[in-house]
Symmetry: C2
Subunit: 434 residues, 2 copies
């Protein structure tokens, strides 16, 4: 990926970062890079994620999915980092896959789960269940529901299930009991950094995507990691986002100009929020989509509070389609263009309209949306986030604030004694009823 | 809808609003309500939107869609306010409809448009094209593409197209030329406030939804509008959001706990952003989804910067599904519950976990997700937004900041001379290339 931070400079934008401040920040980047390289070399928790391109074995993943390679549909049961990386890859590459329908059960809404199960051809559907601990309430509840639906339909779920989990736990026990094909969530890699392991690649393998190309794209991005943001696109992005947050841009709107990258923006939102959102710090990610959200969010981005960085992601090449000529005078300019030219013009106009209003923005360019480039994008943004975490000085790879609600949930459902559950009943209310 | 602002009080949250400040704010609400009622009575631009429940004629909409009532699929060609209201309604009510497949072409990504057109059964598909001006570049380009696809497939598009547009313009000319069924975008109603007119209801009518129930739900909410936030759920919400923004909560995360309301959060994001995002003011909407985003954004919401209001939307009743019992000890508590109970426990735990960390949040309750309640929700949030606009003192019903990019786009495509197009070529760059 290439990164252009020109519109984040102080000469263009407010907030913006001056050339001098950027050079100063680059000294911190050099220090942070040393820590990152050391963490990677020592296989430290979290940093190990940046070693995945060389550690992940695509043959092992393909072997595990081989029994279901001919399925028509794949239902992935997982949530958060156990779903978003996989969904990002298969959604990005959907038009290049073998046509396998993919469904991600990443919510426990009963009506929605039922609707999905009723629509799936179960006898030709594979199950991809993903949970490191094997105890994630939403994932295990959904898995129990899915398993029963298969049984009710007379389909042997043990012949159609692939498990990705830790070395031990309820899902690992299940693997042993039923001799299921399984893969292991790599040690030292938090869920949101696991897209380039089995966690993110099982679904891609089932859909027939080129795992080697994804990993090679990531490995090529790893080669760019260096001690200067001026030489490394990932660090240029991470450092710029950090510097702008420091200067007041507490919001980071991620705006891909490709429908295939809509899920990527969701993946980015988790990466950024869970990694950096701690100690009252962290930039708030907002996911948007070009051109759609020009007609929804652009007014705010251009004329609202000066607290936003807008990050554009743009593939340079994509399939195109002619706009047919029209007899209507006022619209004849459209008939001379293609949809792709319209999309490009809208992108450039939107970027320029923000710059003209002194609103900082960054452009990330991909050659196209393919396996190689998606590997590069995912790795690059992970490295950007790890660098930003070093600059903020936060504990990038933990997410302690979500534990409270997990305990309260469990307590409320009678899964043990948790004082957090008591707090739920003490809610302060001020109701205004219809 | 019912609103509970207890967790936004200063006694719970920081930022929060004290009871005393709320009573003081209520005097401003009374003044704002008078202006709103006056605007409605005089049919003033924008305020007229709040009269839609009594002005919209469901019979006229049903008559217009009658020729295509038996279609299997409906493709809506529109963007922003011309798509989001309609999408919100049909997505919310999907499980209650007649099974018509709905597609919204609200982007010009060529690969994505082509994929949709190839997947649709064109001979059984109706077209719903929506643009007030009849010149919106994305909508007209897509309509030209769709029309040609129908022609290429030997399907007469003039027999399958419904147009919703203004009194004049290219789409109105098209209606006259081909004698197409058509509806009129009501005067004085900006797109983002048009869900309860033909703009939002054509798709619902094609899908067999109860238009009267939607409008009755909205009308019932209109009845609650009064001079005090303590008597009016919509104003309670709008005033609280405004007060929290004033106190530092510049971000408003909209988090429905129902998959069927995922699109509603998108609609809300446009409403809030385009209405209030001006003069360097306005709260930034963030769309999220419970429980999914507990595993993505909760860490940030609970432990990141204290700049967020979290708004939960929760239906009190919904279809449910048992979680099958399991042999695994550690998970046996799940087998005693339903998915709905798990969802409820997760909601209550998340709400309490934010309150326990002094993070402000508001709960909006619906009886269920049905036609009546969705009408109530849309109207209520529109009224909340109009009230907030009065409190901010901004021009709620305009969106001047999007004009610049529209002109630049047109100039770039050779649709006339626009100086904005020249600014695009003068971009400042600082590239870091792979």
């Amino acid at each position: 990926m290439n990164v252009d931070i020109g519109n984040a400079l102080g000469s263009v934008a407010s907030p913006g970062i001056s050339r001098a401040a950027l050079e100063h920040l680059d000294e911190q980047v050099a220090d942070a890079h040393e820590r990152i390289e050391r963490g990677m070399a020592n296989g430290e928790h979290g940093y190990e994620a940046l070693n995945l391109p060389e550690r992940t074995d695509p043959d092992k993943i393909r072997a595990a999915v081989e029994p279901v390679a001919d399925c028509d549909a794949l239902v992935t049961v997982g949530i958060g980092g156990s779903a978003l990386g996989a969904a990002t890859i298969v959604d990005a590459l959907e038009e290049r896959g073998d046509g396998t329908e993919t469904v991600f059960l990443d919510n426990v809404d009963p009506e929605w789960v039922t609707a999905h199960l009723e629509a799936l051809p179960l006898e030709a559907t594979a199950i991809n269940v993903v949970s490191r601990s094997g105890t994630t309430a939403e994932t295990l509840a959904n898995f129990l529901v899915v398993r029963e639906a298969f049984e009710s339909a007379g389909v042997d779920w043990t012949e159609r299930t692939i498990v990705t989990t830790g070395e031990s736990g309820p899902l690992r026990d299940l693997v042993d009991r039923h001799d299921l094909p399984s893969l292991t969530v790599p040690d030292g890699v938090p869920g949101r950094y696991a897209a380039l392991s089995a966690v993110g690649l099982v679904a891609a393998a089932v859909c027939g995507h080129d795992l080697e190309a994804i990993l090679e794209g990531a490995a090529a991005e790893r080669e760019t990691l260096s001690g200067s943001l001026f030489d490394c696109p990932a660090y240029a992005y991470g450092a710029t986002a950090y510097a702008l947050d420091q200067r007041g841009a507490g919001t980071n709107a991620m705006v891909p100009y490709a429908e295939s990258l809509e899920t990527y923006a969701e993946w980015f939102a988790q990466l950024w929020a869970e990694s950096l959102g701690k100690d009252d710090l962290g930039q708030t990610p907002v996911r948007a989509l070009g051109v759609t959200d020009q007609h929804s969010q652009l007014q705010l981005y251009r004329a609202g509070p000066r607290d936003k960085l807008v990050t554009f992601v743009r593939p340079l090449e994509a399939p195109d389609r002619e706009i047919p000529a029209t007899e209507v005078d006022d619209l004849s300019y459209l008939g001379d263009a293609t949809l792709g030219e319209l999309l490009d013009a809208e992108f450039e106009a939107t970027e320029a309209s923000l710059a003209a209003a002194s609103r900082p923005n960054v452009r990330i360019e991909l050659e196209c949306v393919d396996a190689d480039e998606i590997g590069s994008l995912l790795y690059g943004m992970e490295a950007a986030c790890v660098l930003a975490g070093e600059l903020y000085g936060v504990d990038t790879f933990e997410q302690p604030a979500v534990e409270w609600a997990k305990k309260a949930t469990r307590g409320l459902l009678g899964g043990g004694e948790f004082e957090e559950a008591n707090a739920v009943t003490e809610k302060t209310t001020l109701r205004v009823d219809h």
